[in-house]
């Protein structure tokens, strides 16, 4: 496992994502604590905000060290580094202020165990402003070394190199926007899982049911985000290799892809187990310690796999962190071999059939639940239709698995089809929105004959539109 960096640049890349993506997840837990008025989670949030603020120190120092090294490289723009540094200073000051106030309130509320309303809101406001600055700093930082983000229309590749049967115009290359999304998105399941795990351990230790539920939802969200991360990664692969770019090799990418496949499995196990426990809690009113431990074990294993995946991903385009021999032969890895295998009809068609059953299950479940929430079949209490949700989850899991396999059959074609974009955009939205049905207290209390709350109806419409878009986006792939 590559967790110990050996250069300043490497340390900077590992640590700098926590004050950005880490802070976003902590804010998520913090806001949940405010909504549910759970003092334990509020105080854990204050602690986490302070710890993230402390990470500003190694972030700055490692950034300073990286600048010294990168300044010797004429290919790296000095201007971009200084712009990143300037914004970094401003963000660091805000981060330090936020962390300081968070910890002052944490210590002040030690006796009563209850942070004051004013302080809680002040910390939230400062955190949100800090987050905005961190997003700007992060974007400026990526631009230093990711030259592919600046490429406009790429020169036409030799037409004969394009895969056959493609609807894509001769010479068109995969847009770099996919690479940009992948670079942002890949930090969410990774950094997110670290933050969720930290809160989860605290929640288990303090036996705080609200925190446990928030974390189970957090694990489910990290799991869901694995799918678009993988897809944007597959698209980025084509954006970076067709036409070829200096320093980026197929072998390095395939090494990363293999681990990414394992990460998907890990995230799926963690996310599904977490969601099922969240679902079951609704009916039993308590957690099963065995299930909670299982989620913990899956999450820790997944974290290990993701660390290696992330490391191999960094090696693709960061020569400054390469301290070991890079792989040279792509054919030794699983991914290119799976691509060759799945191109045979006898392997592709069964998985495609499962994919169709999967979205039937998803749509059937969505229809039943959404229509009840909107006011049809009021003779049923909401808890009755809630029983169906795991069937939809199994449908989604089936489809992510078979979808990945089908994607590998002709990645270039799929990622360049216009209908693939709304499909992958609405997939995580539709899946995450469904979590609301298992988390909302007011919706759970809807008995036979009663109308659901208005917010639930808005969420239901979002869920319905999302899954209709996903299904249509997929079905129309061969035609538009």
């Amino acid at each position: 496992m590559h967790l110990i960096p050996d250069t300043w640049s490497h340390l900077h890349m590992l640590v700098s994502v926590f004050p950005l993506v880490g802070l976003l997840f902590v804010i998520g837990f913090y806001v949940t604590a405010m909504v549910t008025n759970n003092d334990g989670q509020k105080r854990t949030g204050l602690l986490a905000i302070g710890l993230i603020a402390l990470l500003g120190i190694p972030t700055y120092m490692s950034g300073d060290g990286s600048m010294a090294t990168l300044s010797e490289n004429p290919a790296v723009s000095q201007d971009r580094m200084f712009v990143h540094l300037g914004w970094g200073w401003a963000a660091l000051v805000l981060l330090a202020l936020t962390g300081l106030i968070a910890w002052i309130e944490l210590f002040r509320s030690q006796g009563s165990g209850r942070p004051s309303q004013n302080s809680v809101h002040l910390v939230l406001g400062l955190s949100l402003v800090t987050l905005a600055f961190m997003a700007i700093v992060g974007e400026l930082g990526w631009e230093i070394n990711h030259g592919e983000l600046h490429l406009g229309e790429q020169a036409a590749a030799a037409g004969s190199n394009l895969p056959s049967g493609s609807d894509v115009a001769e010479g068109q290359a995969t847009p770099q926007l996919w690479s940009h999304f992948h670079m942002i998105l890949n930090h969410f399941p990774t950094v997110g899982l670290v933050i969720v795990l930290a809160f989860y351990v605290v929640g288990l230790a303090t036996n705080n049911d609200v925190m446990k539920r928030s974390c189970l939802a957090g694990f489910a969200i990290c799991g869901i985000l694995g799918a678009p991360t993988y897809v944007t990664g597959a698209a980025a692969m084509w954006a970076l290799t067709q036409p070829p770019m200096l320093g980026i090799t197929h072998a390095a990418i395939d090494s990363h892809r293999d681990m990414a496949l394992l990460t998907l499995f890990g995230l799926a196990f963690t996310g599904v187990t977490a969601y099922l426990e969240l679902w079951r809690y609704r009916y039993l009113g308590r957690f099963s310690n065995r299930s909670l431990m299982l989620v913990l074990i899956f999450a820790v294993i997944t974290l290990g796999i993701m660390a290696e995946t992330g490391h191999r991903g960094g090696l693709i385009n960061h020569p400054e962190i390469r301290t070991e021999d890079m792989p040279t032969d792509p054919s030794v890895f699983w991914s290119p071999n799976i691509e060759l295998l799945i191109n045979n009809v006898i392997w592709f068609v069964p998985w495609q059939t499962v994919h169709f059953f999967g979205y039937s299950l998803v749509f059937g479940t969505v229809t039943a639940v959404v229509l009840r929430v909107l006011g049809f079949w009021k003779s049923m209490p909401f808890s009755a239709v809630h029983r169906l949700l795991p069937l939809g989850v199994f449908g989604v899991v089936m489809n992510v698995f078979t979808g990945m396999l089908m994607l590998m059959a002709d990645t270039f074609r799929y990622v360049n089809e216009i209908t693939f974009v709304p499909k992958m955009f609405f997939l995580p939205i539709g899946a995450i929105a469904v979590l609301y049905f298992s988390l909302s207290e007011s919706l759970w209390r809807v008995k036979a004959g009663e109308d659901a709350p208005m917010l639930a109806k808005w969420v239901a419409v979002l869920v319905l539109i999302s899954w209709i878009t996903v299904i249509m986006g997929g079905r129309l792939l061969p035609y538009i």
């Binding site: 099922l276 679902w279 079951r280 009916y283 039993l284 009809v345 006898i346 068609v349 069964p350 998985w351 059939t353 499962v354 059953f357 299950l361 029983r387 795991p390 069937l391 199994f394 449908g395 089936m398």
Partner: protein, 34 residues
Amino acid sequence: MALLLLVIAVALCVLGASFVAMYCLNKAVDKSER
């Protein structure tokens, strides 16, 4: 013929596993509601 049989087998396995999982999950909930 082989393809058809393979498709049927895979679909049965996958759907069968889903329905069995649903049955087990809901059985636990039924017990607690009684």
